[in-house]
Symmetry: C2
Subunit: 391 residues, 2 copies
């Protein structure tokens, strides 16, 4: 079944601010093939990712992503992996390519699953989709009191697990940070699963990060996320060795398998966080999840946009019992919230489970797409190579 | 002096083919500030890199490159590094950003050098520009006889050093490859500096690469370039340990300093190849060159386009005596050949030297820009956010 079309829908809120909220825009991908269709979502700059699909070729190793996709025959997951390999080779010099391909890859899995009437997780070989404990992501408040309130709010919204990140952490004293950690614990309650995200604030400064460990141990934080830049593998390794209780988490920026393996194998992390919309889609994410399982590392999805992205991000580790925590878009913008007609809502016990339905198991709301669609157009040499498609 | 404008000129040959020749198109950057100007060149997909400069913001960590550049005050090299740091932080989730920024960074160095009347290499702290031995890059022929002829041609064109790459290498038997290596040596002559580029053909297969080492030693190849994918650091390390004579070369795809350091520190390479148009420009390339010097590794530029890119790529190691080999665009397409009004031609002894002239020391040909300029336009929300500028 040949790929007939790949459409990119660039959605955005009427106003996009510089807050750290990735749900302010979205790049939705629709693939059609032989009467079937599938949906995916890039976790990436929409316009730049579209350009990487439609751009003219620069040379043999800098071809647009479209060159490896359009007209290809996709009947099995192996066919998807073959396209990925071709992009790795022929778009080697196109840096943005993995971000673009990730959404297309997801859509191909969705399409195959719909065509076969099977959920993606079953196509990956899992017997069942295990319940996951969603965590709510919140920013630290400027004052500990605000952080405490946000912890209470997460708990009241039904979340046993919550992650607090960014904001003032690392910008003041060690004691300031400790007060924030205590506030988060107090808000979330003694039995809550508390996760801390440093947002790369310490760059490569191991001592600055290590100074926060005693307070993190005291509040029983489960992980310390991204103390350093994603490339600072040596710093990860050094801090990991000094933090046997509070394990490190990282990997969200991985745009290929190797980046994730490096943090796992050389960085000593305890939790690997993978965004399917960046890493090249579901296939590579699944392999990373298997490597995590084999290495005693816990796999966690990185998702801060729609429930389409959430479903895609859970598939790779849907059947892994011990990998229980999952990131959950807590308060996304309306465009992300309303992108799907149904959502993965926590059950009575507070768990979510990957849909037991064909493909990714969710339908896209045409009304939402139309409401937030950004009118974009790219012309090269007088020819229009991209214009916003119709739903 | 505030940055007033950044203009991107997308140039392309009338026909672009899938051959591995990166000089078929170009992305030229002009920066103006307070009556001064400077030129740079991205080694990247032009349209995608332009999009990364002009795209609307997605969120606080996915801002366009322009957000950190336009209106900034640039009076010293430190100001350039500050912008780079801001992009690293605020465009963290925009994968293409380093490729875009690289050309802008170069242009800022050129601008500062012109404003001060100093060559960039002197601004980097070098006392003089050392002569470099340029090597001609050629593809292996389909038959060894063709390779031999290309070796002769390189020698006749005045090049003592030549690199042969890609083509049939790794696709046939070990003996087939040996015949190619012998042919290259025969063509280049016994005293020629022979470099071999495997173009990542062995993926991560250490044994396949190691099987070629005896023939490479026999022909006295100086380096074996990119036996593996750039992320396969473990494979580099393993092969390096087995090849004390023929050292490995790699690093051209590095789009940040950390990628280069990893190949140097963990991969055991003997030659680090850096493209200033990808790695983030001249500043990071200079730091990598210093790290190479301190580590007993030889720094080499990666350049396959214009002499503007060549000058920029030589600046970071211009003053390092022991780092003598430099890549030289041997037979670029007319658009790259004619982009500058003067070129860095080998002297009577066959050496080239970074220009002793302000900035990067070369002027751009308006005629060439106008001849090859691609008419491109990007519209978002009814507003034109990019259209090809006038020279």
């Amino acid at each position: 079944v040949r790929i007939d079309s790949v459409d990119f829908f660039y959605l955005a809120m009427p106003v996009v601010t510089d807050e750290g909220d990735g749900s302010q825009d979205a790049l939705l991908v629709r693939v059609t093939s032989g009467g079937h269709f599938g949906w995916g979502e890039c976790e990436a700059s929409p316009l730049v990712s579209i350009a990487a699909f439609v751009t003219p070729m620069s040379h043999g190793a800098c071809r647009p992503v479209s060159a490896a996709v359009l007209g290809k025959d996709v009947s099995t997951p192996e066919d998807i992996a073959l396209i990925a390999a071709e992009i790795g080779w022929n778009s080697m010099d196109l840096l943005q390519a993995p971000h673009t391909w990730s959404g297309v890859e997801m859509a191909l899995w969705d399409l195959l699953g719909r065509a076969r009437g099977e959920p993606v997780w079953r196509m990956l070989g899992y017997q069942r989709a295990e319940p996951k404990t969603p965590y709510a992501s919140a920013l630290f408040g400027d004052e500990p009191q605000v952080t405490l309130q946000r912890g209470l709010a997460a708990r009241q919204a039904g979340f046993r697990a919550a992650k607090f990140g960014w904001g003032p952490i690392g910008r003041g004293t060690v004691a300031d940070d400790a007060n924030q950690f205590f506030a988060a614990r107090e808000g979330l309650g003694p039995d809550g699963i508390l996760l801390i995200d440093a947002g790369q604030i310490w760059g490569q400064d191991i001592e600055a990060a290590a100074a926060r460990l005693p307070a993190l141990e005291q509040v029983a934080a489960v992980w310390l996320e991204e103390p350093f830049g994603g490339e600072a593998v040596g710093a990860y390794r050094a801090l990991s060795a000094r933090s046997p209780v509070v394990r490190l988490a990282g990997g969200e920026a991985s745009h290929n398998e190797a980046m994730a393996y490096r943090l796992m194998d050389d960085g000593g992390i305890g939790f690997v966080q993978i965004d399917c919309g960046r890493v090249g889609g579901i296939g590579p994410a699944y392999k990373i999840a298997q490597h995590a399982e084999a290495s005693g590392i816990t796999y966690v999805n990185h998702t801060f946009t729609s429930h389409l992205a959430l479903s895609a991000s859970i598939q790779p580790f849907a059947g892994l019992v011990k990998h229980e925590i999952c990131e959950y878009p807590f308060a996304p913008k309306p465009l992300a919230r309303d992108l799907t007609t149904t959502r993965m809502v926590p059950d009575a016990s507070g768990h979510i489970t990957a849909p037991d339905a064909p493909g990714l198991g969710l339908e896209i709301s045409g009304e939402t797409v139309e409401r937030y669609l950004v009118d974009a157009e790219i012309k090269v040499g007088g020819k229009t190579i991209y214009s916003s498609p119709k739903f």
